[in-house]
Amino acid sequence: MSNFSIKGSGHVLSTETIDGEIATLNLGPTHPATHGIFQNVLTVDGERILKAEPTIGYIHRAFEKLAEHRPYNQITPITDRLNYCSSPINNIGWHMTVEKLVGIEVPKRVDYMRVIVMELARISDHLVCNSVIGVDTGAFTGFIYMFQEREKIYELYEEICGARLTTNIGRIGGFERDFNPIFLAKLKKFLDGFSASFKEFDTLLTRNRIFMDRVIGAGPISAERAIEYSFSGPNLRAAGVDYDVRAMNPYSSYQDFDFIVPIGKDGDTYDRFIVRQEEIRQSIHIIRQALEKMPKGDFHAHVPDFYLPPKEDLSNSMESLIYHFKIVMGETQIPKGEVYHAVEGANGELGYYLVSDGGRTPYRLHFRRPCFIYYQAFPEMAKGSVLSDAILTMSSMNVIAGELDA
């Protein structure tokens, strides 16, 4: 009997199968290890995966069709439900798409406020992903610690917009209200406490021998293959390609901030984990800079066609009442045109391809959902690995069912 060891993983498996029997294993649609509703039909030889066949669409909600029937400001709540771990990025990405189409210039302060909110969302998304990698390797503690931090981020969202998960944050043209003093105090407290607890989480896993043995070499992908598969975000960067929309096509004044785009080398689970860990630190760094350099000014652009007037004006200003009515009824004039706008979502390039024919709703809206595009590489990445590594590959790719199915 001959044995071989998988690169770096420490597992020693027999090359001979027990009796050569191939089995079909149904992983999902509802399985605690998949962290979402999607099915994988695995063909396994013992523990080893010969073939994986993903079936998706279990929570498809026809967002693109819905969007063709809703006025522009009513599409924001739909975007919440794409990647629901970082809804604010989706919301703000959509606002910026409409602003690009209409030609709205938002004040610098709005850009900085948006940067703070988007980076908070990125932190919470990466925290979920990385702590879940911990759970899947058997380390539950870090998950509990990091969910406390995520809870604090949700409280920050609550201070800005009143909601926690599906945030519907901001408006076309800016924010519905300025950051209040409670938010700023809470944010300061969060920033002060985060580094210490994040360091604990980091020391728990990053250089932990057991964890490293488990994740190094699990589900690797080369830079060439990752580009072929149109990977983006941390998964592409873990493979060694320094593509980040924030750095390459800066939006919302990202060019004003100093941050590093971390990259990995092997594109395996460990690299994806490390890239996300570093991005969390960079996000904290960006938030601190944005707070420090926060310009004075308005928290919204002066675009009465799109931005609701203050409620108290409705009873004594005719214009305000007209604008209010037009916006609420979705009768705003939108120019014709087609626009593609991309933001760096927590999972990669989140793009909005919008075609307007001048009607009250988009003529066509297509979401470029990073999850949907990179999840198709999963069969290739899982092939030949053991089942437990395939679970890790899936959780480290951070496949979010809402974004996958749209």
């Binding site: 498809h60 693109e64 069709k65 580009i227 045109g337 793009g351 709703t361 199915d405």
Partner: protein, 167 residues
């Protein structure tokens, strides 16, 4: 230092490759838009990938214009050149009666699911696609839901008046 790629140079290269100018070229919101026909699409994308470093297929989708007779469907490709940081949009018009287009999976593996999604929602037939099945909808559906004449809600409903809301 990033090299730059101007629209003129790009168009010139495309023209040289195709032998004639693409039927339409406009720059919308900083992105060059070109239209080619379906026989040219694979060759042009391959050329852009191999010779002009358009290595990244950002997106692939379709849209439906029922009133444009003979060109009811439009397949939209977004390509990205990371080195010069240049994005490009390519469109191919298709007739409702002849909705066949060669697959791009031979050039970009990632086109696989994007084309399946386009097939699922618009019924576009991608020729030589390795696995052209529905992806988000059920296998036994007999319509393609993003086509314009497919109503969002059951049209026999009388309890809801969408006169003021909805499109």
């Amino acid at each position: 230092m990033m090299q730059t790629l101007e629209n003129e140079h790009l168009l010139l290269a495309i023209e040289t490759h195709l032998g004639d100018m693409p039927t339409s070229q406009v720059d919308t919101f900083g992105m060059l838009n070109i239209e080619v026909n379906r026989l040219q699409i694979v060759s042009i994308v391959k050329f852009l990938k191999e010779s002009l470093e358009f290595n990244f297929l950002t997106d692939l989708c379709a849209s439906h214009y029922p009133e444009k007779l003979g060109a009811e469907f439009e397949i939209v490709y977004h390509l990205h050149n990371f080195i010069a940081n240049k994005r490009l949009r390519i469109k191919v018009a298709l007739s409702e009666n002849d909705i066949f287009i060669p697959t791009l999976t031979g050039v970009f593996v990632g086109a696989n699911w994007m084309e399946r999604e386009t097939f699922d929602f618009y019924g576009i037939q991608f020729q030589d696609h390795p696995d052209l099945r529905r992806i988000l909808n059920m296998e036994d559906m007999d319509y393609h839901p993003l086509r314009k004449h497919y109503a969002l809600e059951d049209e026999t409903r009388t309890d809801k008046d969408d006169k003021f809301f909805g499109r």
